[in-house]
């Protein structure tokens, strides 16, 4: 791995009985797009909040560009940019006024500030409407202002927390292109999402988080390869599921077959052969199938394999 800009070690955070983050550790290389993938409530936003200094972890350390977050909080914050999951801009101010304000907060002044606001307005495609109040914008335009406000000071490390939630496809593509362009300029990006296709498209490496734990961490292709063939989901009547699952497990191409909520999840090296074998067995046992779903190897199926849950559950 290239020189790490971010080192996270044994991060822990609890709220009363809720153990939100459990010993999360990872490193992010300079210039990398790193994805934090997990369902809602997995602990992604809590992790991001601790990494950006919003609140301290119960234990564990965070080092950014060689500086300990705890002891160099202000210096570290100056290197970071955050685009929060929910819109966090001022609706009655214009895009220009919002960007100017956030630029000032990061220490930009005068000509440098004006130039940077102009650049960011061009980048997010709002130069023409820069002086209209944000509350008059469409949802996608507001999202773009939300992103722009995190870019004014050209952060070394940019956190994008679910930036495409509630965004139309056109704006979503624009966001992807912006992230890729920023990364090409050398910006390190940490991108949290529960859309596996986004992580797959954008991220050089992905950490999968579930119930506060990092359950896998590698490149998307390596994670998919580790799964092998794919997953077949068969919907069956509850009383017949156990008998069928036992038989399917015996098939030579099947790695495992488990029952989950009226379904049998079949993990296999070769999808087509496993599917044919399972259908034959269902016929022999006179099992009535209620649904059939084939998951091609992707991060979604990796997540399902690792956690037994779908990302969007």
């Amino acid at each position: 791995m290239a020189e790490p800009i971010l080192i996270v070690e044994d991060l822990e955070k609890s709220y009363g009985d809720n153990h939100a983050v459990r010993g999360v550790s990872f490193r992010v290389a300079r210039g990398e797009i790193f994805g934090l993938l997990g369902p809602n409530g997995a602990g992604k936003t809590t992790t991001i909040s601790m990494l950006t200094g919003l609140f301290p972890p119960d234990s564990g350390t965070v080092t950014v560009d060689g500086l300990d977050l705890k002891t160099h909080l202000t210096a570290v914050k100056a290197k970071l940019g955050l685009v929060p999951q929910d819109l966090a801009i001022y609706p009655t101010l214009s895009a220009r006024q919002n960007l100017t304000f956030f630029g000032k907060i990061y220490g930009l002044r005068g000509k440098q500030l004006n130039n940077r606001v102009k650049e960011v307005l061009e980048m997010i495609g709002l130069t023409d409407k820069a002086d209209k109040a944000v509350e008059t914008y469409s949802g996608g335009m507001k999202r773009r202002v939300n992103i722009g406000a995190g870019l004014l000071h050209k952060p070394d490390l940019l956190f994008l927390d679910e930036p495409t939630v509630g965004v139309d496809p056109q704006s979503r593509n624009a966001i992807f292109e912006n992230v890729e362009a920023l990364n090409r300029e050398g910006m390190t990006v940490i991108y949290t999402t529960h859309y596996m296709e986004e992580a797959q498209r954008l991220c050089h490496r992905v950490g999968i988080i579930d119930t506060g734990k990092m359950v896998a961490l590698d490149t998307p292709s390596a994670l998919i390869r580790s799964l092998g063939g794919g997953i077949v989901l068969l919907g069956v009547a509850e009383e017949q599921a156990e008998a069928l699952a036992e038989q399917v497990t015996q098939l030579p191409t099947v790695k495992a077959a488990t029952r989950t909520d009226g379904q049998i999840k079949i993990e296999t090296h070769r999808v087509q052969e496993a599917l044919m074998g399972a259908l034959d067995l269902a016929n022999q046992l006179d099992v009535r199938l209620t649904s059939l779903e084939i998951l091609e190897p992707n991060l979604e199926s990796v997540f399902l394999h690792l956690t037994g849950k779908k990302l969007r559950e």
Binding site: L54, F55, T74, K77, L87, I89, Q97, F101, I105, G107
Partner: protein, 413 residues
């Protein structure tokens, strides 16, 4: 300084909110004018005169005309002449409540020194207080008239007796004596030797020498609305939390100290501007509207000190409310209860001495009371900085209390 950037942004947002601008800068002036007019009217007795139907049976009599003129000369009554039959009917039908009858031969009787009987007839609709009021005034006027007539008649008699004396002993003729007496009598009406000034009873004002409605309204509403800025601050902090910008700013290099200072500064500055605008416009508008001329006192430095401490106290209260309230409705609820109730019991609306002993005592536990004490001492009583230091000290104590409790209890998440 990042706090200034936060403050400038908040002022920009505030100025885009017309409702807030009207609440903070326009409404106070409307209140000052309205309450100055109301209080002035009640203090000066400017209420409408009571109509008194008068049946003058002494047609063409000088004394009866003089009586009617003198009844109208005061501001309390207005004599309205009625025919005898009409008055009787209207009394029965309760169209009028009472009537004053001037008997035939009234002038002749008065001039002859005979007893002349005025009759004040009470209709069924008249209340005891109305009867008592009218009777008091009529008796006063009748007494004056009797005295004037008797004195003049006496002097005329003395003049007539002097007419029999030798010429060298006649220093004054009867005509000169009478003219001099009438002149003195007229002068006594406009420049009485014993004057009665209307004033609030000492027991109510605590011995204050005077009460100035325009200065009182100006100071009272400046205080009330300066504290309204606290609600704006609390709402602004709540809005910022709701928008998510409060969290976002905490991930920036902005320190929590700068963030809170930035949120408080607009409240402080707005309070200063409010007081300046309210005082300035009151000084210009109230005299133009004939509602009195408020005073700025004799010690400008003391005025600035009181205003600055008031602004700090309002700012502290804003943080205090923001720390207590967890929802938007709580911000509005707590602010309404705290600010308006404190405004009332603190005497910002109605002079504290009119609130009665109980509320007057309770008023001392709110900062409005002490701010008003300080302003009234400066504006109305013409005192100086040293005199208002105790009140300013207590106001500063409130400010410190609000700030400490507010900042300790404040939740940044």
């Amino acid at each position: 300084m990042n706090a200034l950037d936060v403050a400038k942004k908040d002022v920009l947002i505030l100025l885009k909110d017309r409702g807030q601008v009207i609440l903070l800068f326009v409404l106070p002036i409307v209140f000052v004018i309205t309450f100055s007019a109301g209080i002035s009217a009640s203090v000066s007795g400017g209420q409408r005169a009571i109509d008194v139907p008068v049946v003058n049976l002494d047609t063409g009599g000088e004394a009866s005309q003089l009586l009617i003129e003198q009844l109208n000369a005061g501001r309390g009554l207005k004599a309205v002449e009625y025919g005898e039959a009409q008055a009787g009917t209207d009394l029965q039908e309760e169209k009028i409540k009472l009537a004053l009858y001037i008997p035939a031969g009234f002038t002749a009787d008065v001039q002859a020194g005979q007893v002349a009987q005025l009759r004040l007839v009470r209709g069924p609709a008249a209340s005891d207080s109305e009867m008592a009021t009218v009777r008091l005034v009529v008796e006063g006027v009748a007494d004056d008239l009797s005295l004037q007539t008797q004195l003049l008649a006496g002097l005329s008699q003395m003049g007539a007796m002097m007419g029999d004396a030798p010429p060298e002993a006649q220093a004054f003729t009867a005509e000169r004596i009478q003219a001099q007496a009438e002149s003195q009598y007229e002068r006594a009406k406009t420049e009485p030797l014993v004057a009665v000034a209307a004033k609030w009873p000492d027991v109510m004002t605590g011995g204050r020498e005077e009460f100035d409605p325009s200065s009182f309204s100006m100071a009272g509403f400046a205080i009330l609305f300066a504290f309204m800025g606290a609600q704006v601050t609390a709402q602004s902090i709540y809005d910022e939390k709701k928008l998510g910008t409060f969290r976002r700013l905490q991930t920036s290099p902005l320190s929590r100290f700068d963030l809170m200072l930035g949120k408080m500064l607009p409240n402080f500055l707005i309070a200063l501007v409010q007081v300046a605008i309210i005082f300035g416009l009151s000084m210009v508008l109230l005299p133009l509207m004939n509602l009195g001329k408020p005073s700025l006192g004799n010690d400008p430095l003391a005025l600035v000190v009181v205003t600055v401490v008031l602004a700090v106290c309002s700012t502290g209260l804003g943080v205090f409310i923001a720390a207590l309230a967890r929802t938007e409705s709580q911000v509005g609820g707590i602010a309404t209860v705290l600010l308006w109730t404190a405004g009332v019991v603190g005497g910002a609306f109605i002079p504290a001495f009119l609130l009665g002993n109980f509320l007057n005592t309770i008023g001392k536990v709110v900062p409005h009371y002490w701010a008003l004490q300080a302003y009234n001492d400066l504006l109305i009583r013409g005192k100086g900085l040293v005199d208002v230091l105790p009140a300013v000290g207590i106001l500063a104590g409130f400010a410190l209390l609000f700030l400490v409790v507010g900042l300790v209890k404040f939740r940044f998440d």
